[in-house]
């Protein structure tokens, strides 16, 4: 595929793998995590976001809309986003060619240092596997290190298609318990668990990233269950615990969605350190960050 739908490009990213990175956020995800801080990436197609706090009340959007701004009649034609002078109405997703993304990466390449590179994140970038299969080799040709950030719920054969061009997989680990996994992400963890085993032995560097969500998976038992599973399958890589944050709240508002975690406080620094300590002390083969 020549183009991908991206919701965002983050240059100089410091948190999506090692070193300084350029992160491409792909549209579309097959999980529906209730705490997701990028809810605009979940639908497979671009969505219209309306930021009320940016609106200057000029009503130009109404003038250009053929449907009188009626939400139910919106055809996503883009007239209002193009006309809005305050960027209060924006599309979450735009189609980008591999060449465009490569240009951005090449502009950023000087900043990557010895560890950094490109991270394809999302959403679930694996849902646009044809694009990845074309794009990742282009990056490798230019000596750029690559990472794919995945929730892991994709047939393994798809991963095999990009294994040769991917230096690092960032794989999410949400919950060890099947019932809770279904409840909070909308899908079974069976395939994810199978893929975890395959990733452990895939010959590529893999980081497991576990978001710590208060009230969902923030107890010592939760992280130890994850540690046990990883240890049992022989995983020997890096495990990152990522604290929940509420930076995505504005996006829920812009999408007109209810945010279940609006009143949830992020875990304290002390609690995060305690969880990491617990994991380190019980599973010394894991490199806990």
């Amino acid at each position: 595929m020549d183009t991908a739908i991206l919701t965002n490009v983050q240059r100089g990213s410091l948190h999506d793998g090692p070193g300084v990175r350029t992160t491409f956020f792909f549209q579309g995800c097959n999980l529906h995590c209730t705490w997701c801080h990028n809810p605009e990436t979940i639908p497979p197609e671009p969505v219209l976001m309306r930021y009320a706090n940016r609106c200057i009340g000029c009503r130009i959007c109404k003038d250009v809309c053929m449907n009188g701004l009626r939400k139910e009649d919106c055809t996503l034609c883009g007239a209002c986003t193009e006309a809005c002078p305050a960027e209060a109405r924006v599309f979450s997703g735009t189609r980008r060619t591999a060449e465009e993304l490569l240009d951005i990466a090449l502009r950023e390449q000087r900043f990557y240092g010895t560890d950094g590179g490109v991270t394809c994140s999302g959403g679930e970038p694996m849902l646009q596997i044809e694009f990845l299969e074309r794009f990742l080799p282009m990056l490798k040709e230019h000596g750029i290190r690559t990472a794919v950030d995945t929730a892991g719920c994709i047939p393994w054969t798809q991963y095999e298609r990009i294994l040769p061009y991917t230096d690092l997989f960032l794989m999410d680990y949400k919950l060890a318990d099947e019932r809770k996994h279904k409840e909070y992400t909308g899908v079974s963890r069976t395939r994810i668990a199978e893929n975890l085993r395959k990733f452990a032995d895939c010959g590529r560097e893999v980081w497991i990233r576990m978001p710590i969500i208060p009230g969902v998976n923030d107890t010592a038992e939760d992280v130890c269950a994850a540690g046990r599973e990883l240890s049992d399958i022989g995983f020997r890589g890096t495990v990152e615990l990522l604290p929940f944050h509420r930076l995505g709240q504005g996006k829920y508002d812009a999408l007109g969605l209810n945010y279940r975690f609006a009143d949830t406080q992020p875990p304290s620094k002390e609690h995060m350190e305690k969880l990491k300590h617990t994991l380190r002390s019980q599973f010394d083969t894991l490199n806990v960050k």
């Binding site: 240059r11 070193g19 900043f111 240092g113 560890d115």
Partner: protein, 731 residues
């Protein structure tokens, strides 16, 4: 020299004393003794020509002045300071004109001494050289000039001998021996080298020069032979050398006053001022790393030691790292050490050596001198011991006003500009007049000095390259170059304005020119749509191709014009040679300039500060730090040789070893792309706001200004607000 325990004790005493001076020294503190002694000297030398007034007057002062000592002094040299009583205050007031100095002293800042001779032949050798030249000369004016020079050297030698005696009497035998040696021969050890430099620095910065922004030069290169010899012979350990460097750093801060000369608003309750304290807040630049004239890199253990010893809360010396090509790859550990100090908001910056050299070459500096360049405050390259400055800030060119004038002239003619190129050419024509004016003023000034080339002397003359040899002052024939600076002020704001007009008026025709001018006149009142459009127009700093292209093309055009007109209107064979250097410098003028300017096409409202120095306008870097730096690297920096870029970072974003590696990669990447300069400001806006509310609890909070640091709570509120705005929007 010391045991480990006593060394730690020494380091603690020195550092505490320096930090106290920076944050707690009463603002009324002055050096009454200096003022009194120079007044007495003035009475004694009244009838003499200036060079002899200066030489004999200084000799009297240095023969008489008290010699403060502390038990923990390793390097000797302090000045006696006091908070005057009522009588002392009256005395100070009576003589505070000319910063408490007699009329025959006019030493000022922005000097870069030729330290090599001091290290190679020492004070005695320098005196001997002047005496030999005196014997050769017959011209009365030249002889008087050289007699004055000999007198100055004698004064310094006397001062050193007296200090050695005083230290011996106080039981500081080692320090006394070192100081004595400095008066008898060239420095033969690392410690003697530091001592020789400090004596000269102290006399210049604390007793003679107002705003003494004196460059200490490339100290790692100057002293590396002495250091390596001492280490090899076992007469000095690395720890001992570090303690000496720390003492040197501390002493530089001890002699400073409180406040900030541009941002304290002349408020005597928070600001000491030049008259009370000659050094006040003058930044002293010390250059590290870079390359030797033969092209080899300076990245040895002494460079590392100077860097390791940096104390982040100190104001002086300002460390300037010269980044040579691929430095981060060739010397990754040293690069990380520099970046680590920078991320702690140390008073330091990195300059791209290659950019500066190329720019100096374009402006007509000889290659061997360009390679030898150093830096002095604020943020300027210089050729040590070779150049006399004329208009340092004289030609600070704000391009926005003539740009708006041109738009108005188009509107008056009932037309719109047809292309950005038309605007380029109109501004270039306007610029020619400004450049020719600067060239002519510089030539006239040089010729005035040349009319009396040996009639005036300063301490500077004794540490210059050709003054003694030519028997002419550094103002005239003692300097090879006679320089003025042409500054493109608030360049990013200007580029943003051109880009907005190109985008909205010329190409997309979303706002007609007349309407744009009306919007500016009315400060976008009741025009939220157009204001939003102007603000959305591409900005330098967001890595938008349109803004980047304007930034590149405009600067290329303008710098070519400056260099062409300078070449056409000056003669490189003349001595001293006229050099017109170019930079992007606004210092803190961007605040006042913004206050005086109405709304602008980039969506900036009337009165809001413009962009500062090289940096993009505050709030323009919407795509993150790497995009900002990519954008700035589109500017052809090898055409200008100076301009600071404050980069604000959130300390937590680059914490720990991983954070250090990331910051080092980003900054190194910028310099590898040709970026010119960076200084890091790592402070949370929340802390700044808290400091505004409770200044006493935040006396040690320093912020980066333009190549130097200042205590935040010693600034006026408007300046504090601007710093907060910068940290909030750009971090």
């Amino acid at each position: 020299m010391k045991t480990c325990g006593s060394m730690n004790n020494h380091a603690g005493l020195m550092t505490d004393e320096a930090l106290w001076a920076l944050t707690m020294k009463p603002v009324q503190t002055t050096t009454l003794e200096r003022i009194r002694l120079f007044h007495e000297a003035d009475e004694r030398v009244k009838e003499l020509p200036q060079p002899l007034q200066y030489g004999n007057g200084l000799k009297y002062v240095l023969e008489t002045i008290t010699l403060p000592l502390k038990e923990h002094d390793l390097i000797l040299g302090r000045v006696s300071e006091e908070v005057p009583d009522e009588e002392g205050e009256a005395f100070f007031r009576k003589y505070e004109a000319n910063s408490g100095r007699p009329s025959w002293i006019h030493d000022g800042g922005h000097r870069s001494f030729w330290w090599n001779d001091l290290i190679e032949i020492g004070l005695p050798g320098l005196r001997e050289r002047a005496a030999r030249e005196l014997e050769r000369r017959t011209d009365p004016a030249e002889r008087t000039y050289l007699e004055g020079a000999v007198c100055i050297y004698d004064a310094l030698l006397t001062y050193g001998k007296r200090y050695a005696e005083a230290a011996r009497a106080a039981g500081l035998t080692e320090a006394a021996d070192v100081c004595q040696a400095v008066t008898e021969h060239e420095p033969r050890t690392f410690r003697e080298g530091l001592q020789a430099m400090w004596l000269v620095i102290l006399v210049y910065c604390a007793l003679l020069a107002a705003n003494p922004t004196l460059a200490f030069g490339r100290m790692d290169l100057l002293l590396e032979n002495l250091y390596e010899r001492d280490i090899a012979s076992g007469t000095l350990t690395r720890d001992e050398a570090q303690l000496l460097i720390l003492d040197f750093y501390c002493k530089n801060n001890l002699i400073m006053g409180r406040g900030e000369h541009q941002l304290s608003g002349n408020d005597p309750t928070v600001s000491t001022g030049w008259a009370r304290c000659l050094c006040y807040d003058a930044p002293q630049y010390l250059v590290l790393a870079g390359r030797r004239p033969d092209g080899s890199e300076i990245a040895g253990d002494l460079t590392r030691l100077f860097a390791e010893t940096i104390v982040p809360r100190f104001k002086n010396p300002v460390i300037v790292v010269h980044y040579s090509p691929d430095f981060q790859t060739k010397h990754p550990d040293l690069w990380k050490l520099f970046v680590d100090k920078m991320r702690q908001s140390s008073s330091m910056m990195v300059y791209n050596e290659e950019d500066c050299i190329r720019s100096l070459l374009r402006s007509g500096v000889d290659p061997e001198d360009a390679k030898n360049f150093e830096h002095f405050g604020c943020n300027h390259p210089c050729m040590p011991g070779l150049e006399r400055h004329h208009e340092f800030y004289g030609a600070r060119i704000g391009l926005i006003a003539p740009f708006l004038d041109y738009l108005k002239s188009c509107a008056a003619e009932g037309r719109e500009p047809e292309s950005a190129e038309e605007i380029y050419q109109a501004l270039n024509t306007w610029l020619e007049g400004e450049i020719l004016g600067l060239i002519n003023r510089t030539k006239a000034a040089r010729d005035r000095f040349l009319a009396n080339p040996s009639g005036w002397i300063e301490l500077t003359d004794c540490f210059w390259r050709d003054t003694i040899k030519n028997a002419q002052s550094f103002d005239s024939g003692g300097s090879k170059y006679f320089c003025s600076n042409f500054h493109f002020s608030s360049y990013a704001s200007f580029v943003d304005c051109v880009t907005a007009v190109d985008e909205l008026v010329i190409r997309k025709k979303k706002i007609p020119l007349k309407r744009m001018l009306t919007l500016l006149e009315t400060n976008f009142e009741n025009a939220p749509v157009e204001l939003a459009l102007c603000r959305r127009a591409p900005k330098l700093g967001s890595d938008d191709p349109a803004a980047n292209l304007h930034a590149n093309r405009l600067l290329t055009l303008f710098t070519d014009t400056v260099n062409r007109l300078a070449a056409e209107n000056t003669d490189p064979a003349e001595h001293p040679r006229i050099i017109i250097r170019q930079s992007m410098e606004s210092d803190n003028h961007h605040i006042a300039a913004g206050r005086a300017l109405g709304a602008t096409p980039d969506g900036r409202l009337a009165g809001v500060p413009l962009s500062q120095n090289v940096a993009p306008a505050v709030g323009s870097s919407v795509n993150g730090l790497t995009a900002r730096l990519s954008s700035m690297a589109s500017i052809p920096f090898d055409r200008i040789c100076a301009g600071a870029q404050n980069v604000s970072i959130q300390p937590r974003a680059f914490a720990g070893d991983e954070g250090l590696g990331k910051l080092a990669a980003i900054l190194g990447g910028y310099f590898d792309m040709g970026g010119l300069q960076i200084q890091i400001s790592a402070v949370d806006a929340e802390d700044l706001r808290a400091a505004q509310k409770d200044p006493n609890a935040y006396r040690d909070l320093t912020v980066r200004i333009t190549g130097y640091s200042a205590v935040f709570v010693d600034m006026v509120k408007s300046a504090q607000d601007e710093i907060i705005r910068r940290e909030e929007m750009d971090a």
